[in-house]
Structure formats: C-alpha cells, structure tokens
Homo-oligomer: 218 residues x 2
Amino acid sequence: MKELLKQTLPFWEDLTGNEQNTLAQGVVKSSYEKGNVLHYGGRECAGVQIIKSGQARVFVTSPGGGEITLFRLLEGDVSILSAACMMKGLDIELDMEIEEDSIIYTIPKVLYKDISDQNTTVKDYTLEMISEKFSDIMWLFNQYVFSNVASRLADTILEHRALAGSDTLAITHDVLARDIGTAREVVTRLLKQFQIDGLVKLTRGRIEVLDGANLGKV
Amino acid sequence: MKELLKQTLPFWEDLTGNEQNTLAQGVVKSSYEKGNVLHYGGRECAGVQIIKSGQARVFVTSPGGGEITLFRLLEGDVSILSAACMMKGLDIELDMEIEEDSIIYTIPKVLYKDISDQNTTVKDYTLEMISEKFSDIMWLFNQYVFSNVASRLADTILEHRALAGSDTLAITHDVLARDIGTAREVVTRLLKQFQIDGLVKLTRGRIEVLDGANLGKV
DNA sequence: CTTGTTTTGTGATTTTGTCACAGAAGAATC
DNA sequence: GATTCTTCTGTGACAAAATCACAAAACAAG
C-alpha cells in the first residue's frame, strides 16, 4: 500500500512518518466495472484518486446528451480534479466513465486537505497538478474552437494509437465521436473519406492506421 | 500605492512589514492606450497585474485569425494568469487587448514568486485565483461546445449590458463576434432576427436591449 | 440458423461558417 | 456643405458540419 503511494505521489518523501501513516491508513480502495459512470461536481467529490489498474475517461456532458472527452486516466495516474470540490474557487462538473475494470485508491478529501494545509510541498503539488490540467484543457479548447472536425478526428485516432501502442485499434465510431464532441454519423463519413484516401482501413469495431504520417497532416 | 495593494490583495494583511515594503517598492506602474495588445505565453510573462483604471480583454487566438474572449479585466481586478509562466505546469498562450486607456500596476514575477514561496496565505490565494479562472473557462468551454450561436450571442449582449449598466450598448457586431468566437456576418444576421423578434433595436455602433428577459431565453 | 443487439451507412434538412462584395453612416478634409 | 475616407453593416452564394430519421450489415447468443 505505502509502496503505491510512494510511487505515485511525488511529495511522499516530504511527509513526516506520521503523515505517511495517516495517509496510508485513510486511503480507500474501490473497484469499478467497465461502464460505471461517476460524477464530480458542485459541492461533492471523492478526493484525490490514484489509478492502481484499469482505465477511465473524464468528460463533460451537455444537457442535450452531447459529450466531449477531456482526458483519460491510466494505470499510475493521479486525478486531482476528482477532489476539485475541496478547492476554493474551483467549481466544475465532470463525469468519469470507467473504460476498463479498474481498481482505484482514493485519498478522502478531508485527509488530503489537512495534509495539504500543513505541508507546503503538498500544496505546491496541488497547484502544479491543477495548472497542468488547466493547460491541457486550454489546449483542448483551442483545438475545439479553431480546428475542423476532420483534423480533430485524425488527432484523436493518433492519440488512441499511441495509447494502444498498435496500429490496429479496437474502437467504435461512437467512442471517437464522444471524444471529439461531434455526432457519430459525422465520424462515419469522415472515416470513410480517410479510408478512400488510404489513411486507414475500417472494419466493424476496428480501425487500422495505414498512414499515420499523412493522417497527422489532415 | 500601499493603499491600492491593500485594497486589491486579500493577503496584504498577512504579509510582514518587510514583505509589504518589498512589494510596494517592486511594483511597476505602466499606462497603456486603447488598442494596445499584450501577449503572455510560453516562457515569458509580466507578473501579477492590478488594474488601477481602464479595461482590458483577455482572449485566445487561432492561427487563422479567429478570436474568442475568455474574460475582461476591470478596475480593481487582479490578473493572475498574466503570471502563468512562473507556475510550474501552467503553459498557456493568451493575448490581452486594452479596451480603454489603462493604468496597470505589475508585481514582477520573481517578486511574487519569492513572497508566494515564503507565505502560505499568498500560495493559497494563488491556488484560489487559478482555480477560479479554471472554473470560468470550463464554463465557457461548455457554453461554446454545447450552446448554439444565437444563445451565446444573447448571453454576451446581456453581459455587456450588465457591464455597462445600461440598456444601450456602444458596441459593434465585430466586437461581439470576437467575444463569442464566430464571424461578424453571423452576428449581423442573428441580431437582425433579434430585432425582428423585438428583443433589441439596432443602429450603427449601438445596440439597445428592449426585452432583456426574453433575450435571456434565446 | 434464427433472433437480438450493436455498429455502420446514407439521404434530407438545418445551422453555422466562409467568401466576396455592396451599400450606409459618420468622420475628416476641402 | 460637398466630397472623400473609413468604419460598420447587409446580403447572396456556397461549403462545412450538425441533426434527424431510418436502413443495412456484422456479430453474439440462444
């Protein structure tokens, strides 16, 4: 247990032995199945989450049902936004969908807050993590506002390729549509064109990247 | 001078007399004329800025020349994002356009950083301000992604009305287009429709809100 | 080898963005 | 006060993307 915390929390060594113990004892382990959806927002949130195994997708939702993926959490990632509610001034609504059966350790918000109040290194870490996510989302915002759908789609496919570490992706048009915040039909039509252009090869539930270099230039 | 700092910086009273003096002496005063554009981003930034008088608009720019306004700075506001470069992990590109002749006091980034490193209250303030901006931009992102242009336009008009404190706004279609990140022609067409619907009255360089209540429901 | 479910494909329509100008309102100059 | 000049607004034509409404495959399970 302490081993996991030591590996994932950069400030671990700066904690006192006492703080380390409190943390290690307070951490809560949970398992989630693929398809589960958690919600953070308003005045309620889980706390700082550590992904022990599995994969999750953090996204925003429109009243009309539309979605756009902000980022994914992979094994070893630490999610600070799931503790947003404890930050003064930070009031955002997020959903998290478990994409692969996951085991997640949660540092309850009160526990994290106490340690953060006492320990400057932890506070610095929090600020840094928030800043990082802020940057990520600014980047996404720019992409969304200023790029056309085709190039956003191409980028997402390349991201998924990097994630999978393979040219063959087990992914549906629907997932891609949710990632980039558009309609499934639009993705289908564009992929069709990508295939005609020789960039990808399509089969049901599967996309094979044939020409990553040119896909990146779309 | 100290008076201004005391009024705008909530952590002022928590500083030591020494820190207060260092700050007061280090602050730089500058004046900017309407139309000036400043850029923050990458590894360079001004520092924490205090708007003594005037008005400015902070926005992002696309390679193709498109713009979208993130927020405005008014008299008495403190801009923390203009010091983004000193925050580890926070790497964003922003522009700031002076909309009214302004006098701005800047706390140089090194100075702010030193004080922030020594004083927990200042660090808390920084985290809170960043979080607030993060929230604002998440809200904007949601608006942009999930609302149609008409309702975004209506909302912006109402914001400008609140800002001006009057139903008659001295504003051009172009400004509104930059605010909501669309083309000027689109704004012209929509405003035309708003006028037909009896929501606003249009004259050159001027929009009069006739029915704010229904404009909010667009 | 049916029956269901998930995924993909397509046409028709609407909304929004882009391009290319034309016209109008004010400001500046003669 | 008439004329240029500049800024702002209006519009038609077209392209890109979103939305709606289904149909057709592909696969899974019984």
